[in-house]
Symmetry: C2
Subunit: 232 residues, 2 copies
Amino acid sequence: MKVTHQSNLCHSCHLATSCFNISFESPHFSHLSQIIQKSIIVKKNEAVYYQQEKFRGLFTVKQGGVKTYLVSETGQQVVTGFYLPGEILGFDAVYSEHYIANAVSLTSSEICWISFADLLKLASENQTIQRELFKLFSYRLQSNHQKFHLNSEQKVAAFLLDYASRILKQTTSENDFYLLPTQQDIASYLNLTPETVSRTLHRFIDQEIFQSSQAKRIENLNCQKLREILER
Amino acid sequence: MKVTHQSNLCHSCHLATSCFNISFESPHFSHLSQIIQKSIIVKKNEAVYYQQEKFRGLFTVKQGGVKTYLVSETGQQVVTGFYLPGEILGFDAVYSEHYIANAVSLTSSEICWISFADLLKLASENQTIQRELFKLFSYRLQSNHQKFHLNSEQKVAAFLLDYASRILKQTTSENDFYLLPTQQDIASYLNLTPETVSRTLHRFIDQEIFQSSQAKRIENLNCQKLREILER
DNA sequence: CGATCTGTTGAACATAATCAAACTGCGTGG
DNA sequence: CCACGCAGTTTGATTATGTTCAACAGATCG
């Protein structure tokens, strides 16, 4: 992990308004950007933090991508989430003050460190930031129940739609992008086997829902068709 | 919904320290109890709040129990959670400022209302309460991924263990209690069919994991055996 | 350039869903 | 107070979806 110091990390970041949903022009922005003063380069398969490690703050993805996964007592791994540029990870560690999952980089990534103590201090001094922070926590409480009661085809469709909408922050199109996680990661995340994910993706190609000229590449994704699959 | 006013709702509540995990003796307790000044009686099947209704604060269960459920565009209902005495609901509405799910009483319940605006104000003035509140949000982020990758027997076992540990706050034993939700509710919550839940519970009785002298009654629950099922 | 990780494909199998029918118990109204 | 109706539960037979197992192909990386 290589540490980089920059006086104005957020001001030079094209995702500046994304992490906390506070605009560049807002008077609150400069307060927030002051507590984000350090970024680290995390290479592929290197950890941002480890399960059970003591909480030492939140992290936000500036470039690249991160997956979180749990390891049970029996040694089984379950992928619990993917984090793309502009997204914050570590919220779930606030309760126990230890990280709940392992966080590992899916590619070489640039990760910004956020002191939670500083953030709390800032929040107690600034009502807008406090409210925005509670909203960020609240936002994470929403999802999850959807992907639970879907069949395998719908799970993969929902995953692609979600991923496409999130990757949109950094690229210009939600129809052409690279998948950072492997099919195994996706399978674990959706509670499916890699075989089922592979077969489902190939069925989508057969149905012309997307093309793929190379591994992990999604081209010309037809989001409307995916939404129709979800409505069945 | 019948509204009751009490000057010291929390001081007379045996769950006082449960909702916010702040002890009765703490100097912060009196601050918190000041913003909880009103409780309502919600009869069985009556709503505490409705999906999409504008956010008007958090609620905590003083007596009884509540279920939350989503209704999809296609009219399908999915139970997303159960709330027992001492537990707070409504956190997920903070983000969009609208309730995400319907919250309906499982039996005649007494529900305390918590002004979120007052709570935010209190949090910005009081570091301990602010931190405790963030912890409450964070706590809710943990679960969910477990029940996803279990088989039907393990899901029901995990549900019983969780329910037993939570009911323990109000009774003396985690081995004898009444289930507030119906088997249909439990099935929906676990993403199983009512048939599967019924068969699994009867298999547990056959295996002497618990007894049941009447409907919805769990007696002499063997938590150790349930944990063994989860470790398979 | 071999070794290892990732993805593909097919066949057999298992788990839980589905469908159907009957039963129980609870609350309601006659 | 009993009869009725209905929601919730039980039980069995059949079926479908996704898993498992196995073998191989392709990609990636030191």
